[in-house]
């Protein structure tokens, strides 16, 4: 559990980033440059080498 920060090694899209980490069916949020967004609403967004993305799991209680 917890938030992982991942450094992007080469330019790609958010979709590629998610697929590479096998996270497409895991409920998560992404944070980049201080802003949080839903990955599947930003699949085409481009990220660059050197960008640091935080992968934030959405966690249910009860």
């Amino acid at each position: 559990m917890g938030i992982e920060k991942i450094e992007v090694k080469e330019d790609k899209t958010i979709k590629e980033f998610i697929d590479e980490l096998n996270l497409s069916s895991v409920p998560i949020l992404l944070e980049l440059d201080g802003e949080i967004f839903y990955p599947d609403e930003n699949y085409d967004r481009k990220i660059q080498a050197g960008d640091r993305l935080a992968v934030i799991p959405i966690i249910a209680g009860g």
Partner: protein, 268 residues
């Protein structure tokens, strides 16, 4: 634990969960996290300019109801007129009637729209208190499970979830079946188990919700809302018994680890 610096804790409440006193929760959180400001924002629907989009928004909420807890929703059903009207009345505060089951992740996604863009980061702890019942899909036993809370942006805490999600003792459900067959009112059944679980209009509901609010805060602080210690308020109770113990009866509020953590944060 890597700790995030928190900017502010923001509490939202659409007024439907009548048992809650948000000011009291704000006061409690303010004491626990002395260095972080707590702001009571009130009704999330009133803040966002929904004006002419209320019908549209209501339609979206109406369409994320879970029709069958054993089937995973892959596409959403067209809501009927009365369902949209009901959601509109809920948004406008004209009714607090609850009982409909929603998909928690989709609900959270809709609430996300109401958070100002510049505050969409974990240093702002957004907590929506409400009485909508929501569930999330569990791949292991292949069904939806009702939840008390869903940590994310915003974190949602449901008073109906407090009552319905953690399971009551097995005996209760067996007796309930009998009562239903005999046409006996369930109020009598609840009397039998008095105190053992949290019910609607339970005066202990407020206290319980404070614990879940702290879970949402820890989620923002360290990415994990829970603790393994059964006596700690951060314990993720799956049974009513566990919930009552962790939130109300345990000799300590937080375990040693989390208590020291809070002390450190408050600069002691």
């Amino acid at each position: 634990m890597k700790v995030r610096r928190l900017n502010k804790i923001l509490l939202y409440d659409d007024g439907a969960a009548r048992a809650l006193n948000i000011e009291e929760i704000a006061e409690y959180l303010g004491k626990k996290l002395a260095k972080v400001g707590v702001e009571v924002r009130g009704n999330p629907f009133a803040l966002y300019p929904l004006q002419d989009k209320i019908s549209e928004y209501a339609g979206k909420i109406a369409s994320i109801k879970i029709p069958d807890a054993t089937k995973r929703m892959s596409s959403w059903q067209e809501p009927l007129y009365s369902e949209i009207e009901y959601e509109k009345r809920r948004i406008l505060g004209k009714t607090t009637a609850f009982g409909v089951l929603y998909d928690g992740l989709e609900l959270q996604r809709l609430f996300f729209e109401l958070i100002p863009r510049e505050e969409r980061s974990l240093e702002f702890v957004h907590i929506f208190f409400n009485n909508r019942l929501f569930a999330t899909w569990d791949d292991h036993d292949r069904r939806y499970h009702a939840r008390v809370s869903l940590c994310g942006i915003p974190s949602i805490i449901s008073t109906t979830g407090v009552v319905e999600a953690p399971a009551k003792p097995r005996e209760y459900y067996l007796l309930k079946q009998q009562y239903e067959m005999l046409g006996k009112d369930l109020l009598e059944l609840k009397d039998r188990f008095k105190g053992g679980f949290i019910d609607y209009e339970d005066e202990r509901l407020m206290e319980v919700v404070k614990g879940y609010a702290m879970q949402a805060v820890f989620y923002s602080l360290v990415g994990d809302p829970f603790c393994q210690d059964k006596g700690c308020r951060l314990y993720n109770a799956h049974w009513q018994e566990e919930l009552v113990f962790a939130q109300l009866e345990s000799k300590y509020e937080f375990c040693q680890r989390h208590a020291s953590f809070l002390e450190e944060m408050n600069g002691h």
